[in-house]
Amino acid sequence: MSEIEIIPVPTRILTDKDDIVDIMEKYAKDKIGPNDVISVAESVVAITQGQIVRPEELELCFLARVLCRFIPEAGSLASPYGMQALMDVEGKWRVFFAFIVGMIAKVFGKSGVFYKLGGEQTALIDDVTGTMPPFDKHIVYGPDKPFEVVKQLKERLGCFGAVIADVNDLKRSRIVGVTEGTDGEKIAHLLIDNPFGNASQKTPIVIIKNFSQYQAKS
């Protein structure tokens, strides 16, 4: 039986001028088979979709300046710009409401409510330094329509499945979009050691060889 294998695929720097599906086809088509899963880094998908903004382009509101102060310092919403970027897409009052409810829920021992109520971008936004140059000076949103993107990737590459993953060196691995029939939780576990590498290693694609057999077996 074929063993599972994780293969990082280097690319050139991708920008908002690129189409993510075309690029995946260019770099991965000859390396991927019908039993394999293609995994793409969340931030790279977002960048190719133009889901980025520079802090200098944002106009801060009072609420963003205040609310960011209550987010732990290492969080992407801890700067007023990360918070403003969120408010711009999810709505200022929605974020404010989520924050108030989240704070009350926390008092009663329930965490994560803010991230659930604040809209899907609440947990997906990466503040500056979150990705490779030249996008290290940008706030990067989560990808738009991730489930549609993975569906297109699977169709174009003829592989077993496709995922968009948010993985970092701090052992955080989360699936943002996954094709039907592919076990996202198992893939998240396989990617926990961040095979995408650090920001400057330019390996936004990871192919998981023989995943269909692995999924069927376990």
Partner: protein, 178 residues
């Protein structure tokens, strides 16, 4: 009426608590330790040019982490003062030297310091002899400019180091003209 006063009092109390929390948590506060910079050292000397560098520490003295978005040098040597050399200067992170002069945005945690390397290249403009040119060299200020993003609005600050003519002369092994 009593309820209204109670509500107003509650709102004021919440504002005071939030304000006290924010003040207590503080912010990042960056400082370039220009007074503690290392002396300029020789990197390379050629017939027509000399390259020197020194190190300057950037410290986050605040209570929160912060981000240096960008950092660059601005050397100040107008030809009215001395037109013998063409100056190139750049600043890099000591632990992440780059050939492309790009300064990658960097998070500095509280009470942490990072070392910046300031590199200066002087090329003789009027002849191909850097050593004879440097005999006329003058003190040259170099501003280190940095853009920061913290819990407050982004802004740009700068601090100044001075490359002394005597330092350059000593490194190049030349004697300054009177």
């Amino acid at each position: 009426m009593g309820i209204l006063y109670g509500l107003i009092g509650l709102v004021i109390l919440i504002i005071i608590v939030c304000w006290a929390y924010i003040v207590n948590k503080g912010n990042a506060h960056f400082e370039l330790k220009v007074a503690e910079r290392t002396p300029f050292e020789l990197v390379e000397i050629q017939e027509d040019s000399i390259t020197l560098n020194c190190q300057v520490a950037m410290v986050n003295k605040g209570e929160q982490l912060g981000t240096i978005m960008d950092c660059y040098t601005r050397h100040l040597l107008p030809y009215e003062q001395f037109d013998g050399v063409q100056v190139f200067s750049k600043v890099e992170l000591e632990t992440a030297r780059r050939e492309d002069d790009y300064f990658e945005a960097l998070i500095i945690e509280r009470n942490r310091r990072v070392n910046l390397v300031v590199t200066v290249k002087l090329t003789a403009r009027k002849n191909s002899d850097i050593k004879s040119t440097l005999a006329q060299m003058v003190d040259m200020p170099i501003d280190i400019v940095y853009q920061q993003v913290t819990r407050a609005d982004w802004h740009i600050e700068k601090a100044r180091i001075e490359m002394k003519a005597s330092e350059v002369a000593s490194v190049a092994n030349v004697t300054l003209a009177d």
